[in-house]
């Protein structure tokens, strides 16, 4: 159980990228009337930003 929780928190930035950053990017774009490039849906674009950003944060240990 403890190990599972540790793993969950270790991967939390990645989950945060998918669970929060992606929809935040998508809804902010919609709110400001900005269209996603290459005919993508806003949420697909949000996931394209949020998921890799969160994954890199897990590896680097820093958001920026």
């Amino acid at each position: 159980m403890q190990s599972a929780v540790k793993q969950l928190f270790h991967w939390m930035p990645f989950l945060f990228g998918i669970g929060f950053i992606a929809p935040l990017v998508a809804q902010t774009m919609q709110s400001w009337g900005i269209a996603a490039p290459f005919g993508m849906s806003p949420i697909a674009f949000g996931l394209l930003i949020g998921a890799p950003w969160g994954f890199v944060t897990v590896l680097r240990g820093r958001w920026l």
Partner: protein, 321 residues
């Protein structure tokens, strides 16, 4: 006795005809006061400080539960579209930041000590106040008391990681220390609690984990339900702004430069804040809090002004206020 005996050795004589090395009759402390003077000053200091303990603490309870209720109401109001989001964002930042002040009183049991009538209120205020910054009371209390026990000790003071060479770097560090791979802020606290290994520390770790999971759960649920901006402006961003503000004004500003400042009268500075006493959360006179944690936060300035002559004799730099 031989000629080499130091007791027989004549003292060097100066032009004034006095011994070159003048020694006081009583050993002096670092501030140049002998122990009798220090004891008398301490007695006087304690007598003055006694008058500033206690007082009405109900405003802390009203502020805690009132602000928490208003903040909670923002969520359904935002979802139903009945909220002025920019105003709610500003208020959420204030609630997140100010919550630490009310919680801080509870950490020192200033609202109700164990066994007293209002102990339950003390614990309730502590538990509710820091929810917006996702910092459980159990962890906050243990870490804050450790900070008091080992103030400015580079190895034992949990807040030592906030130290920075200047104000700009201190602001940056408030953000940097929260990064997932950096041993600062709450990550540093988690590590210390893990090393403590006491039942209280284990409970604090468990509550921290639960609160963080609830926080993430709320953010993810709101975001994927179409309320990501609302979640960001009501909880995520106010939490980050609040934590940075708290770290800067409650930790860096009153304790800088920390290094070697471990003596009773050195643990915090008397400083003048650009934002004033209230907006700096009464931290200008934080030294009083370290000397007498039982004095409520809002009375530390009055206590400082009353104690100022004694503090000056103790060598405290009181030039700022």
């Amino acid at each position: 006795m031989s000629e080499a005996d130091p007791l027989l050795k004549p003292a060097p004589v100066t032009d004034l005809g006095l011994a070159g090395e003048i020694r006081p009759a009583l050993p002096l402390g670092p501030e140049g006061l002998d122990r009798h003077t220090r004891r008398d000053l301490l007695k006087e200091e304690m007598a003055i400080a006694e008058g500033f303990h206690g007082g009405a603490m109900w405003p802390y309870a009203v502020a805690t539960f009132g602000c928490f209720a208003v903040w909670l109401s923002f969520f359904p109001l935002a979802i139903t579209g009945h909220l002025n989001l920019p105003l709610a964002f500003v208020l959420s930042c204030i609630f997140a930041t100010g919550g630490y002040v009310t919680s801080h009183e509870a950490m020192h049991s200033n609202i109700g000590r164990p066994g007293e009538k209002y102990r339950w209120l003390n614990e309730a205020i502590g538990a509710v106040s820091t929810i917006p910054i996702v910092f459980p009371f159990s962890m906050a209390r243990i870490m804050h008391l450790e900070h008091h026990y080992h103030c400015n000790d580079p190895l034992k003071d949990p807040d030592y990681t906030d130290e920075a060479p200047n104000a700009l770097m201190a602001w940056y560090k408030t953000w940097y220390n929260r990064q997932p791979g950096v041993d600062g802020s709450i990550h540093h606290y988690k590590r210390i609690l893990g090393e403590m290994g006491t039942p209280e520390a284990a409970r604090a770790l468990k509550e921290t984990m639960l609160l963080q999971l609830v926080f993430m759960g709320v953010l993810f649920t709101m975001a994927w339900s179409g309320f990501a901006i609302e979640a960001a402006l009501l909880w995520w961003l106010p939490r980050h702004i609040g934590l940075s503000y708290i770290r800067f004004y409650l930790s860096w500003a009153p304790h800088h430069p920390r290094e070697g400042q471990t003596g009773r009268y050195e643990q915090a500075n008397i400083f003048k804040s650009r934002l004033g006493h209230v907006l700096s959360m009464c931290m200008e006179t934080h030294l009083i809090h370290h000397l007498y944690p039982g004095i409520p936060n809002h009375r530390t300035k009055a206590a400082y002004l009353a104690l100022k002559p004694i503090l000056e004799k103790r060598g405290v730099d009181c030039s700022a206020i």
